[in-house]
C-alpha cells in the first residue's frame, strides 16, 4: 500500500522534526524570556539565550545522586520525542496522549528516585499536574473521535471544516492545559521557576549539568508538541492553525506575567471543574446533534 517514496518522505519528516523542533522550541523559550523581560520593564537576555544555557550545561560536571534518575530523564526525553513524531506522522491522537502521560510519569519517577525532599515535593506536584491535564487531553481526543469518527490525526487534515468551530469549548480547555504543561504562573507549581524560596527547583532540583540540559531539551520538544496539538484545531490550511498556536503562546506569556503563583490543589479543582465540564458538554453536544453512530 505504501510505496518506498512515501516511506522516504516520512523518514525525512522525522529527521527534520528531530533537528528542527529543538531549534524552534529553544527560540520560543528565548522569545518568552525576552517578552517577559519587556513586560517587566527590563531589557532581557538575547533571543538565543536558551542555547547558551544548553551548551553551558552540557559542559558542566554531572553530580550523580542516584543512577536511576538519569534513566528517567532519558525516558522523559524519549517519550516526548516519540509523541512529537506521532504528531508529525499524523498518527493516533489517543496514543499520543498516552505517550505524553508516560513522559510526565517518567519525570515524576525521576523526582522520586532521589532523596531530596524538594524533588519529592516537586514530583508530587507534577503528579497533580498530570492529574489536572491528562483527563482534559483525553476528552480532547474523544472530542476529535466524536467529530471525525476516527482518532487518526491524518483524518483531521482531510476535513474541510476546522475543528475549532465544533470543538471551541475543548479549545479553551486545551489552552488551559497549555498553561499547566508550560509550568507557567498561575501553575508554576512543580518546577518552581520563580519561587525558589519555596521548593528550590522542585522536581528538577537534583539534576545538574548535562542531565539538566536534557530536561531543557525535552521541554523544547514539549512546547513544539503542545503548539502542534493546538494548531490541529485549524488543520486546513495549517498556517492558520500555527498562527493560532503562536497567539496562544503569546497569551500564555501575558497570563504568566499578570498572574500570581497558585496552589496545586486550586489547579486540580479548577481544571476538573471547568476543563472537564467544557469537554463533557462539548462531546455531549456533538453526539446529541450528530447522533451516536
Amino acid at each position: 500500500m505504501w510505496g518506498d517514496r512515501h516511506m522516504l518522505e516520512q523518514f525525512i519528516l522525522v529527521i527534520a522534526t528531530l533537528v528542527g523542533a529543538p531549534l524552534a522550541g529553544g527560540l520560543l523559550f528565548g522569545i518568552d524570556r525576552k517578552i517577559t523581560a519587556r513586560l517587566q520593564g527590563r531589557y532581557g537576555p538575547p533571543v538565543i539565550q536558551p542555547f547558551y544555557d544548553f551548551f553551558k550545561l552540557l559542559g558542566k560536571e554531572h553530580i550523580a545522586v542516584s543512577r536511576l534518575q538519569f534513566i528517567w530523564i532519558y525516558g522523559y526525553l524519549v517519550f516526548m520525542v516519540v509523541s512529537l513524531i506521532f504528531l508529525v506522522l499524523k498518527s493516533d491522537i489517543l496514543l499520543l496522549v498516552f505517550l505524553l502521560g508516560f513522559a510526565g510519569v517518567s519525570l515524576v519517577l525521576g523526582g522520586f528516585s532521589t532523596k531530596s525532599p524538594y524533588a519529592h515535593f516537586g514530583a508530587n506536584r507534577e503528579l497533580l499536574q498530570i492529574m489536572a491535564y491528562e483527563p482534559v487531553l483525553l476528552l480532547f481526543a474523544i472530542g476529535i473521535y466524536a467529530q471525525n469518527g476516527s482518532f487518526l490525526i491524518s483524518e483531521i487534515f482531510k476535513q474541510d471544516k476546522p475543528l475549532l468551530f465544533s470543538l471551541w469549548p475543548l479549545f479553551l480547555a486545551v489552552l488551559y492545559v497549555l498553561t499547566i504543561k508550560m509550568r507557567k504562573s498561575p501553575f508554576d507549581i512543580a518546577t518552581s521557576h520563580h519561587g525558589h524560596q519555596e521548593i528550590v527547583k522542585g522536581v528538577t532540583t537534583e539534576y545538574s549539568g548535562p542531565y539538566f540540559a536534557l530536561f531543557h531539551l525535552a521541554e523544547w520538544y514539549e512546547i513544539v508538541l503542545l503548539l502542534g496539538i493546538i494548531s490541529l484545531f485549524w488543520a486546513n490550511p495549517l498556517w492558520v492553525g500555527i498562527l493560532i498556536a503562536l497567539v496562544a503562546f503569546l497569551l500564555e506569556l501575558l497570563v504568566d506575567n499578570i498572574a500570581a503563583r497558585m496552589t496545586a490543589r486550586w489547579m486540580v479543582r479548577l481544571s476538573w471543574s471547568i476543563g472537564l465540564l467544557l469537554g463533557v458538554i462539548n462531546i455531549a453536544y456533538i453526539y446529541l446533534t450528530k447522533g451516536v453512530s
Binding site: D53, H62, E206
Partner: protein, 140 residues
C-alpha cells in the same frame, strides 16, 4: 573561544548565599536583578539551587554555624565554578573581624576567585566582580 566557552560566559547562573551579613549587600545583590540594572540581559539568573549554579555570590563574614553550610554548598556546585566574595565582610570579615563567633572572610573556608570590596557594595561593583569572575570562568 569555542562554543562551550562562549556559552559559559554568556550564561552565568548565580547562587546567592548569605553567611551572616547585615543584609546590606544582599539587598544590593537583589538590586542587580531589578529593571535598573537588569543583569538578565547578560544571561545571569539567580538560581537558588547550588546544583544549577556556576557562580557563588557570597555575602557576610563566615561564623561558626555557617561555615559547614558554606562548605556544603560549595561542594554541591558542579565544576567549573567560581566564587565571588561580595562586600568587605565577605572579603575580610570587616567590622565583625574580632567577634567571638566570626571565623573571618569567606576565603578562610573555601577558595575565593574575586573579591568585591565595599560596605555596602554598589550594584555596579557587583556586576564588575561577576564580569571578572566570567573572565576566569572562560579561562578554566
Amino acid at each position: 573561544m569555542g562554543l562551550m566557552q562562549t556559552s559559559r560566559v554568556k550564561s552565568p547562573w548565580i547562587l546567592h548565599f548569605d553567611n551572616s551579613s547585615c543584609n546590606g549587600c544582599d539587598i544590593e545583590v537583589l538590586a542587580c536583578l531589578t529593571p535598573l540594572y537588569d543583569v538578565e540581559r547578560f544571561g545571569m539568573v539567580n538560581m537558588g539551587n547550588p546544583k544549577h549554579a556556576d557562580i557563588l555570590l557570597i555575602t557576610g563574614p563566615v561564623n561558626r554555624r555557617t561555615a559547614r553550610v558554606l562548605k556544603n554548598l560549595y561542594n554541591q556546585v558542579p565544576d567549573p565554578k567560581v566564587v565571588v566574595a561580595v562586600g568587605t565582610c565577605a572579603s575580610t570579615a570587616g567590622v565583625f573581624h574580632n567577634c567571638y563567633n566570626v571565623l573571618g572572610g569567606v576565603d578562610k573556608i573555601i577558595p575565593v576567585d574575586v573579591y568585591v570590596p565595599g560596605c555596602s557594595v554598589r550594584p555596579e561593583a557587583i556586576i564588575d566582580g561577576v564580569v571578572m569572575a566570567l573572565q576566569k570562568l572562560a579561562s578554566l
